[in-house]
Point group: C2
């Protein structure tokens, strides 16, 4: 019964997994707005920069697909050498699995029988599906679900880097959980996850570095405790876009879970890097194209994108091209551009490129990514196939 609800919710027949070619290429500026647009050459440079950096540091990339929710992007990451992808949710993993991806780590624990049954089904389909656990009772329930499905689920223990979101405390609590998992015949302990999301956006690069290294060291201490107790730790995964160049210096970290680096966003760009005020190793590649639709007052102009086109949890969108223009949300469907003295004239009907404020929840608002190639044209549309898959 439960399985059938989930299949109804998923509507497999309605989810497109492949790019949709356009009958003929169109200029980005002619897309109906608001449109989610990717600068494809910038995206490719970002992909290659991360791949090259990690290759030279002998660190794997387990790219976080929660950011893009798009199998087209995930396949490109794998082509460039990623060892696998991460998903935040079971439904997201189901979409990526349906798109042919085998190496999937679900990075958040689950706690209900329906989710555990689905994880077991995924594990039965691919030996390279893994999920984190952070509680023994939940691990035992997952073991029962795996037994029910006649399979083994590979698990990682999620360590809490003192962020207080998910994960078990490092040291003895984590070791005891590993010992408990060892008693579960249908679970297979394969490593540790320590994701320090609270460090990713620390503006002071020195402080970010110090805290990331401290956090890594504390996690490695737990890893060594577990190895000394006789449990091989094949995977020690963690780290993201904000600490990629720090975590990759730590030899014990096998792979990092970066997501945002592909497209970047204003929230990340603003954190700075080293002694530079902007984090520019990766380029902004994700934009929302909006149109000016109304001008009730001089000094401001209204565009057709608001809370339903831009994530509203962090910074405001910023203009890609225009000086002295600030964006203020004007409700669900509108944004108000505040035009300073240096701002150019904007006319009704003009299209404006806004840098995405926070990439993950911005992409999740849209059905399609429109990639603009080097020729300035959109040749195909990429479906955000796992959009809305938060369950």
């Amino acid at each position: 019964m439960t399985a059938s609800i989930e299949s109804l919710l998923m509507r497999h027949e309605a989810r497109r997994l492949q790019p949709l070619p356009l009958p003929e290429p169109v200029p980005a500026e002619s897309l109906p707005t608001p449109a989610l647009v990717v600068d494809r050459p910038a995206m490719e440079r970002n992909l290659k920069r991360m791949a090259d950096h990690l290759t030279s540091h002998r660190t794997g990339l387990r790219a976080h697909a929660k950011m893009h929710k798009c199998p087209v992007v995930a396949h490109r990451q794998l082509e460039l050498g990623a060892i696998g992808i991460c998903c935040a949710k079971v439904s997201e993993a189901e979409v990526m699995r349906a798109a042919g991806i085998e190496q999937i780590l679900i990075t958040s624990p689950v706690s209900s029988p329906d989710k555990m049954a689905r994880v077991a089904q995924l594990a039965a389909q691919s030996a390279d599906v893994r999920i984190v656990v952070d509680d023994l009772t939940m691990a035992q329930q997952l073991d029962a679900a795996a037994r029910e499905a006649g399979t083994t689920v590979r698990v990682l223990v999620d360590l809490d880097p003192r962020m207080g979101r998910t994960g078990i405390a490092r040291g003895e609590p984590a070791l005891n959980l590993v010992r408990g998992i060892d008693q579960c015949p249908n679970l297979h302990f394969t490593g540790l996850q320590q994701y320090a999301g609270h460090l990713m956006h620390i503006a002071d690069a020195g402080e970010r570095r110090r805290k990331a290294l401290e956090t890594a060291a504390a996690g490695i201490e737990t890893r060594d405790l577990i190895i000394a107790d006789g449990h091989p730790v094949d995977i020690f995964t963690g780290g993201g876009t904000g600490t990629f160049d720090i975590d990759s210096e730590v030899p014990e970290i096998t792979d990092i879970q970066a997501g945002s680096y592909v497209f970047m966003d204003e929230e990340y760009a603003a954190i700075g890097q080293g002694n530079r005020p902007r984090f520019e190793f990766f380029e902004p590649a994700l934009f929302v194209l909006v149109s000016a639709i109304s001008q009730p007052k001089r000094g401001m102009i209204t565009v057709d994108g608001g809370f339903k086109s831009f994530a509203s949890d962090s910074v405001a969108p910023v203009s890609r091209d225009l000086p002295d223009v600030r964006f203020r949300f004007g409700g669900d469907e509108h944004g108000i551009l505040l035009l300073g003295e240096e701002a150019p004239e904007i006319h009704l009907g003009d299209r404006l490129w806004m840098v995405a404020p926070h990439c993950d929840p911005t992409i999740n608002l849209h059905d399609w990514i429109c990639p603009v190639e080097a020729d300035g044209l959109v040749h195909e549309l990429w479906p955000v196939s796992a959009r809305g898959c938060s369950w």
Copy 2:
């Protein structure tokens, strides 16, 4: 060419417009979380309260479908006497039109040739499709698009109630725009819109009332100026959930554009009503059901819904049932419940009902509304058919 991109973006074949019956009813608590759940009896009471109130005040309801984006709810509003629906976007109107709805007002101006062509196509399909305009040049371009499509587009002039989002200034500027529209052979002026969104959430009920009546009076002055100049004003539309009982006392207002009243949300409930601290004429009927998934620290517990399940533009979600529990966003996929001394014990796997913080952008995150009937069971799923239709 443009039309074909839009048809590709829309993917008509993938948009379900009707309820999806479940093979057998299921308890709400067994839905995969996060789930968007509607208390159906509470929704019905809200629908009837608004219908009864407006009927007794001889005011029409032009229900704003941007809130729910769901044809099932729109049809129920029409069954209960709504004179039509509003849409914020052309794509939203296209979905509602495809679901068989004729009476549609698009409440935001458009400024690009592609949108104008689509509006003209909608108008050619139904004489009851209308759109607002607030600029003469744009009106003339819409006139050309209507001529091209061999049809007439009915328009309303959008008045800016000094909110500074869309609309033309009241008085002479509005009159001149009406005169200009009269020169457009393929446009037909049918009335005025004045939507004072900035008044809807004023917490002081006396101030809200005073400002709403002042705003209405200023709009009516412009209406009278236009009528005196020889242009019939059949429609004078405006007002929303926050001022429904004020605007309905103004005989010149033909209909109000309320949306949120159907489901309500915490943002509205907190504004108070009359001398009561909470706005309770309409009941909270929209919830996100989440599961407790991790507890890294005593005094808090992590649930499986964050920025991708709850709107993050206004207040935080609140617990429907539990005392002394506060919600803090824990990122895209997580929420942290802070448990006070009076809070009950919560276990991993427990399901929790959270009141939607802001209904419109919360619904837009989900693919399905799960209505719970009086028997506590979900019998069918309602598609959020116009989800993502922000273009």
